[in-house]
Symmetry: C2
Subunit: 729 residues, 2 copies
């Protein structure tokens, strides 16, 4: 009997071994962006899907198809060959791929070509090619086309040009037509065409008074200086103004906003009639925002339309959205009730009140809250003129998800569009009748559907992809919640168990952390967002944990702003709840807990290594903030105020002060030319450790910025892995 049992055991072991052998193992080349085989593991996708009016455009290798959103029927629109013949005849570079064309004119059989084709327009019906002669010969950038007027704006060097004409003539320290305020407040460009393209607003940033950070390029024959204007917290910042250029008169005016010192000019929006420009303006303290209306022709400040104040900070991130069927109504987004929601303002009902003190008159407008609830509106997709619906992306179903909803603008009632799980990327058709819905979830590798926004009819499925990771010996990846250190807030965590997990073993564990605002590491996507490195480490026998602590994104204002003036403190307490979870599992070796993170996560990693130095044995901190004094004005002062106003907070978060507390092995890694967390952070930390007699490790990626890409990223994670293998295994 015993013999048979033995035989069975052997048989079972053999079978399970074979089964395990059938599944493949990962290399870092498979799992890291930049790896040689990285794309093999990416889920199939359809590239370049877009709308031409209400017709879905589906590019292929050699032709562009149209797809009927009702029936799914595909028809050839034009071929690459035909288009290239026409381009060649017009003296324009050939197009290699059809995935980056755009179709802004639903009433014309024309396609807009990209910069490499000098923005030529191809008519697929007539074969005609419209070229333009108003582009410069020298390098140009920040291109903005208006599809109604056909005007084009761009920058050459630090100056703005429109239709081949130089608009600004500023010296080197003054930038025009570019993003300002270091891309905070949702800013990602500096050129704003009016709806019909008759006027163009643009940012002008004078940074001549800002101190240079001396970045050094070591790839030249002898190293060369590459100075970078970097306003550090509490120091003199740049000054931003907004110009408006009229291409037909060749005249420029500037909005009369007063002294721009220590002010932010954000979310530039045009009124549909092109008569007004709206700007959300903030004081340097970032605790008082004002929605200001300007006359677009004279630049006069017409009215203070709305304002918000908050003890901690106000952070406007969305321009106004005017209703397409009523030029007097716009949607304003605000976190004033604790979550980002939509508010409807009716200018027709506004009443001007002169303000007694200096400044513009105030316009009182009744505001109606459209959406409401303990969830966040993430984006406005557009409208349906007929049904008067507004389409949004929101976290209504779960903070981990992003789903499309139709919103009844009067009742605020929402109706889900598409599957009730996962993270969706949605494109609305011109009329608002259809969406292209591309989504993934923990259980769906990818689905791409065309869906009617009405919810009536099942739509057309374009892709149901399989997960190429299924061929591999995957670790178990689970989602869970734990209580934050405040004892009440639920935090999401993601746990990755070692491959070939054995509950009787004791494994080392590594926490992968970010922890700062505007980011969320755990979402309802494949593997709950676990990165390739998490999976690789699990294959090497590590337990990997990630916790989205208080302070991180998509959980509302209070969840985020509890970290104000004390970055790191509450966030670390929550991470320690994650450590408690690890200890409770029974299969984690408490003496072998490590931590890794980048940027804010590098700050968290270093801070955890110093603060909880008996818990964490090994850490790798990438591009870390070490001292918030050395970080830039906009992001830094929002969360920390100025060093002058919050000296205790800055001191508490200054990791050089606690360099002597380092006990475990900590490797700090930076891009040697990091323009975001400048090298001074890490270098100051090394100096402090040397003075305190502690021994961090250090590495740099010469020529790299705040992150490593391509082969450098593979090298980086080879390095990080080796460090844990050296000291935590």
């Amino acid at each position: 009997m015993k013999r048979i049992l033995n035989l069975l055991v052997i048989l079972f072991m053999t079978v399970s071994t074979i089964m395990a052998q059938e599944k493949k193992s990962f290399t870092l080349e498979d799992l890291m962006p930049g790896g040689n085989t990285y794309f093999n593991l990416q889920v199939e996708n359809l590239y370049g899907l877009t709308w031409w009016g209400d017709v879905c455009i589906k590019p292929e290798m050699d032709k562009v198809m149209t797809l009927n959103p009702k029936t799914g029927k595909e028809t050839v629109l034009f071929t690459l060959e035909d288009m290239n013949k026409a381009l060649e005849a017009a003296g324009i570079n050939k197009v290699r791929a059809l995935y980056t064309l755009s179709y802004p004119w639903s009433d014309k059989t024309e396609v807009q070509l990209p910069k490499s084709q000098r923005f030529a327009v191809y008519n697929w019906k007539t074969g005609a090619v419209k070229t333009r002669d108003d582009l410069p010969k020298e390098p140009y950038d920040n291109v903005s086309l208006n599809s109604v007027s056909g005007h084009i704006a761009y920058t050459v060097g630090n100056n703005l040009y429109v239709n081949g004409r130089r608009v600004t003539n500023e010296p080197e320290g003054v930038l025009c037509g570019q993003s300002v305020h270091r891309n905070e407040f949702g800013i990602n460009g500096g050129i704003f065409w009016s709806p019909k393209g008759n006027l163009v607003a643009f940012y002008r940033m004078d940074q001549s008074m800002v101190t240079d950070y001396p970045q050094v390029n070591t790839s030249t024959r002898i190293a060369t200086l590459e100075p970078d204007k970097y306003p550090m917290a509490g120091m003199t910042s740049h000054k931003v103004t907004i110009g408006v250029y009229n291409p037909s008169t060749n005249e420029t005016i500037y909005l009369k906003a007063g002294d721009p010192t220590d002010r932010y000019f954000t979310n530039v929006s045009w009124s549909p009639d092109e008569k007004n420009i709206y700007v959300i303006e903030l004081n340097r303290d970032q605790n008082h925002s004002q929605l200001m209306r300007y006359n677009a022709v004279t630049g006069a400040q017409e009215a203070l339309v709305y304002e918000e104040k908050h003890d901690k900070y106000v952070e406007p991130q969305h321009p106004l959205t005017f209703l397409p069927w009523d030029e007097h109504k716009f949607i304003y987004q605000s976190q004033q009730d604790g979550y980002n929601h939509l508010y409807l303002f009716d200018l027709a009902q506004g009443m001007m009140h002169p303000i007694e003190t200096e400044g513009p008159d105030k316009l009182f407008i009744p505001q109606t809250q459209i959406t409401k609830g303990e969830w966040i509106v993430k984006d406005i997709l557009g409208f349906n003129n007929k049904t008067k619906e507004i389409y949004i992306m929101s976290t209504e179903l779960s903070p981990l998800q992003s789903n499309a909803f139709a919103v009844n603008i009067k009742t605020g009632k929402t109706r889900l569009i598409g599957a009730g799980e996962g993270v969706h990327h949605v494109q609305l058709s011109e009329s608002g009748k259809y969406v292209i819905d591309n989504y993934t979830s923990h259980s769906v590798a990818r689905e791409v559907n065309i869906l009617p926004t009405s919810g009536k009819g099942k739509g057309v499925n374009l892709l149901s992809a399989t997960n190429p990771m299924e061929a591999y010996n995957m670790p178990e990846i689970t989602l869970g919640t734990l209580k934050a250190a405040d004892g009440k807030t639920d935090l999401y965590y993601r746990l990755v168990k070692p491959v070939n997990f054995d509950a009787n073993k004791k494994y080392p564990a590594v926490i992968y952390v970010y922890g700062g605002p505007h980011a969320q590491l755990i979402t309802d996507v494949r593997n709950y967002g676990a990165g390739g490195w998490d999976i690789y480490m699990a294959q090497l026998g590590y337990v990997m944990l990630t916790v989205d602590n208080r302070g991180s994104a998509n959980r509302g204002l209070e969840f985020e702003n509890c970290t104000h003036r004390q970055l790191g403190t509450e966030e670390m307490k929550d991470q320690m709840q994650g450590v408690e979870l690890l200890k409770s599992l029974g299969f984690v070796d408490e003496n072998r807990i490590g931590v890794h993170g980048w940027s804010f996560g590098g700050f968290m990693t270093t801070n955890l290594m110093l603060t909880y130095n008996d818990t964490f044995k090994v850490g790798v901190a990438g591009g870390p903030v070490i001292d918030w004094k050395l970080y830039e004005v906009m992001y830094g002062e929002r969360y920390m105020d100025t060093p002058q106003a919050n000296p205790e907070g800055y001191k508490k978060a200054d990791l050089t002060q606690r360099a002597g507390d380092l006990k475990g092995r900590l490797q700090v890694i930076i891009g040697a030319n990091d323009p975001v967390c400048v090298p001074q952070h890490s270098i100051s930390f090394l100096r402090a450790c040397i003075n305190a007699g502690t021994q961090p490790d250090y590495f740099i990626y010469p020529g790299d910025g705040h992150n490593m890409f391509g082969r450098d990223r593979v090298h980086l994670y080879t390095r990080i892995t080796r460090y844990f293998e050296d000291y935590l295994k």
Copy 2:
């Protein structure tokens, strides 16, 4: 019987354990400069011994003694208290210690005080204090006093001042009165008083055409640029001229040396009559030196006095020395017979020959070789007017030693002064009758004697120190020779066995290497020059080996210049002879051999790790040269020629080319502001390794230069030790 034996064994073990316990163990704090207890292990010394004529000055804490060199009898010369009273009355800072005063006037009872006392002169007989009113209020530097005329020269910023008067008025890129040519060719200052102090010659270096290396200071609020003129091999170099200032006429002339482009002006020497200035001039190739005579009043180039050429390089390092009893005779030092020796030139017998080609006339002078042999004259101490002897330091007894000799100027016969072992530091009295002889050897901790140069009489012993290391459990340190890779040259090596050595064990071994020109690691001093770190590592159980390979100092020209145009190649072959020695010992684990070195030794370390990557498992390379293109013109081109002239040699020695060959663990460590081996070396190496997919480690000392001092040095060697302990133990 067996029981008794056991008992005996136990007894013996106990006794030997107790004996071992009686000896102390070292900490790094004991052994490293900068360590808290470092001075406890330094051998006692007598500080500030000097000559006042033929009377020996012996400073103590509170008084200065004179010491009769014949009898040793000590007498109080003056007390600190008396002097400070006089200084106070004159409004001069008090003196705290008596060790840094000088006694240039043997005919006066006066002592010269240092800069902190504004060069006041105190007469200990009369109590009078001479102050001077010609010193500036702003910071000044490079002070040169002439004790005959009493004139003083110094620099403020980049300009020269004499007696409070501004002599030069140059813009920032032009330096006057400072060292030039990056301290090569024996240059260590830029002010040269004529013997009687009536004229002062000075260097003027225009480096406005030299590229800046962008050094960055990260200790300021925001990092700041500190550009440093750094002429890299093959690039545009600075231009040096020599001015002569006459304080009595306030006039300056410049020597008419022609276009200074790509030329070196070295070893400025005055004729005793102050009428001529001699300069040894080199071409940029450094293979042709010319001893040129100038008229000190007009600046006219009078004659080419002597010239040397060599296929590889000529390296003049010593100014002329005129005989005190004959103004027409001078001693010229040259390596022309393969070893640095003295040559006597008699200007009285010179004959002018006009040269047919352009340039100065040539003066033919019979030269007489004074010293000769396969050894090196290291220094001229001075003369004895009566006996017509010249006193020198040389390696005549052994390349590891430095001994004083009296030389008969006619016969060249030498007579040893003092002990025939060790490394001596010798000061000659004014008449040449006595020396203060301070020496150490492998067997003598320190002796300080006053000796008659005649060799008659035994002299006076001032100190016979004990070795404080005797209280410690010392490793065995032995000296030996092995054959160089050329199969014929003997190389010296130093072997340090582990403390409590057991020949049956297998130990890891570390080679400590320098290997470059102008340095010698093994000499006949305490522990044969083994550093504190060697001893510490031996205590931790490492075998430590050092080999002075071909290319290193004090072995003659051919020994040194076999490395020409191929730095690293021959040097490494010799180090591999050291590896063979280690393997032959029987107690070294061949799989655990490491290497460490700094500067040229960092170059050697990195090179060995890449070239012999199966031999060396762990290396720590400090401040390494990685690519000689990035090193400076003077040193770099002497040994490597220019990158344009020797592209293959540069490529072969460029370690970035072989970054992919790294197999073992290599940590590169630099001072982040190293002005000698600029950070670009190491940073380029890291970039090459990243591109090649290899993984060096890296650390920097922010704010430090080419070497770490004080506490940083203790931190550094804690770090280096840890690296070997992590990966080689």
